[in-house]
């Protein structure tokens, strides 16, 4: 698609794209290219000489059980965060979609957590469930749970998942509500006239019509869990205890901070780039086709 009415100028359009192009080339492509090049190089222990090693850095990574564990952990976290947040948000959206009194108030009261930054989410949750002073920890201990996420890796993981899912409820709720409101009322009424009770209407009519939204949100939630949980993890557990809450992004960060292996750190970045490309690709394919149902 192109405009018919246009301006004639040789230099002006270049001047107009120049600022964005400059930033993109200096701060996006140049570092990305650096990461790719670096990932094929190996530096000796003193940083004196570098040699081209093909895919050795990548092979080393995949042979490293710690990296493999981080991959599995990141996918498990993403799945848990997406499923818990999506199902809770869907329940709320279905309730809010009814013609209730105060429905705009409900919406306002449910969407604000979108604006809370991940590190703040981490701080709020770590305080609430802190082993020695957390308010909820008292009740957990009273119920006989030996609650100590500072020592117990599984509990720390659960804490991260809960906090991350909490933040994402508002986003999912908004998109589910929009999806539900776009379903024609006549379809639902037709099902009701045919004698379908609410639960059955939801299962056989609403849920299938909502499938494009669900799929879209699934991808968005996975991207969120991969990248935006960094701030939550950094304030809550810093990847610990042990490495129980270290995701791929967090690992790139800590490995880089320690400063050791540049090639390995670069290879990790490149693997993350590939993951983003795949996820964005899926997302755009979906936007084009709108998923058939």
């Amino acid at each position: 698609m192109q405009k018919q009415a246009i301006f004639q100028s040789k230099l002006l359009p270049y001047a107009l794209v120049a600022p964005q192009l400059a930033i993109v080339l200096i701060f996006f492509y140049w570092p990305a290219a650096q990461a790719v090049i670096q990932s094929f190089l190996l530096q000796d222990a003193f940083g004196l000489s570098t040699s081209f090693v093909w895919f050795e850095n990548y092979l080393e990574l995949f042979k490293d059980p710690a990296y493999f564990a981080a991959i599995i952990r990141t996918f498990a976290f993403s799945f848990a965060i997406a499923v818990s947040s999506l199902s809770f948000a869907l329940l709320l959206a279905v309730m809010a979609d009814r013609p209730l009194r105060g429905s705009t108030l409900y919406r306002t009261l449910l969407i604000w957590p979108y604006a809370v930054a991940p590190p703040v989410v981490g701080v709020l949750w770590v305080f609430m469930l802190h082993p020695s002073l957390g308010v909820l920890s008292r009740y957990l201990r009273a119920m006989g749970v030996d609650w100590n996420p500072l020592l117990d890796g599984d509990q720390a993981a659960a804490l991260i998942i809960l906090a991350a899912a909490w933040k994402q409820i508002s986003y999912n709720f908004l998109f589910f509500l929009a999806g539900l409101q776009s379903i024609p009322k006549s379809v639902i009424e037709a099902a009701a006239i045919d004698g379908a009770r609410p639960m059955r209407r939801f299962r056989t009519v609403i849920f299938p019509l909502l499938s494009p939204t669900i799929f879209f949100l699934l991808v968005i939630n996975i991207v969120y869990a991969f990248f935006d949980t960094f701030g939550i993890i950094d304030t809550m557990t810093r990847g610990g205890p042990g490495k129980a809450t270290e995701t791929l992004v967090y690992k790139v960060y800590t490995d880089g901070l320690l400063g050791g292996n540049l090639g390995s750190s670069a290879a990790q970045s490149v693997i993350l780039m590939v993951i983003v490309v795949v996820l964005t690709g899926i997302q755009f394919r979906f936007v084009e086709r709108k998923v058939t149902y």
Binding site: K3, P19, Y114, A117, M128
Partner: protein, 282 residues
């Protein structure tokens, strides 16, 4: 109208209120904690009702900071965050709208190549290029500066796409009319296109401001001086690993101050926020 039984309606209200309670509880706790005495909190004896230290805590937080690790007033951190968020939001909108204008209203060699170069940055979030970008910013001597905080985040494929899409829907007659009036590319942009884009810009601004204010990883890496840190970074430094030293009322007050501006924007400009959110994701 589909039947709506009384019981079901009550159930819907109840579930929504439970949802709101779950969403709000951690924040309620923060409000309560920020008004209580640190010694009581540290003992695990925190009450679920507000205490009497409100003024004291917020005065200390805003103007003094914690007495331990970072003695930096939170007000200063908030100013840093504000400058960064505004630079990111305004910068992204400004450079995106003029690139979109060039791509839609001009024909020039490499037009589509440039479009794709901008578009592909969608797949290069800061998380995947952390250290190489850090090195470039360090080489340019931009560490601990507002330019370093904002410039590497300022390109925006989504904003460019959005403006491009919007410009495509602007009728050609408008351009022809203003050309008859003798307007050149600058006049047309300023007098016609910009006023038409106002709502789009506002919706985009709301989203970008929130994203900018909430940046964490990047400021964490490139700010070393206490007086340059943003509030999101400052709050993490307040939680010391030796728990005994963490001043929880101040930490909670800082958490609340950190969420105040973006939450305010979402609640007050809800229509624009929802619009911006839906449009930027497509």
């Amino acid at each position: 109208m589909v039947e709506e039984e009384g019981f079901q309606r009550y159930l819907a209200h109840a579930i929504l209120w439970i949802g709101i309670a779950i969403v709000a509880f951690p924040v309620y706790l923060a409000i309560v904690a920020s008004t209580q005495d640190n010694a009581v909190i540290a003992n695990g004896q925190m009450s679920l009702l507000p205490g009497g230290h409100f003024l004291e805590t917020y005065y200390q937080t805003l103007f003094v900071g914690t007495s331990g690790s970072t003695r930096e007033p939170v007000l200063n951190m908030m100013l840093n965050s504000l400058v960064m968020a505004l630079l990111i939001a305004v910068g992204k909108i400004a450079i995106s709208i003029i690139s979109a204008y060039a791509i839609v209203y001009f024909r020039f060699p490499f037009r589509m190549a440039i479009f794709w170069i901008i578009f592909i940055t969608l797949m290069l979030p800061v998380e995947v290029r952390i250290y190489p970008t850090y090195k470039i910013v360090a080489d340019l001597h931009l560490l601990d500066s507002y330019a370093g905080l904002s410039l590497p985040l300022i390109a925006s494929a989504t904003a460019t796409l959005l403006f491009r899409q919007f410009f495509m829907t602007v009728p050609d007659e408008l351009l022809e009319a203003s050309r008859i009036d003798g307007a050149g590319p600058f006049r047309f942009f300023w007098d016609t296109l910009l006023p038409l884009s106002r709502t789009n810009m506002a919706a985009l601004f709301v989203i970008l401001f929130i994203l900018g204010w909430n940046q964490y990883l990047w400021p964490l890496l490139i700010t070393t001086r206490d007086d340059m840190q943003t509030i999101q970074v400052g709050i993490r430094k307040m939680i010391t690993t030796t728990d005994a030293l963490t001043e929880w009322p101040v930490v909670m007050a800082t958490a609340l101050l950190a969420m105040l501006p973006p939450v305010f924007v979402v609640v007050v400009m809800q229509k624009l926020f929802v619009r911006g959110l839906v449009e930027t994701e497509k």
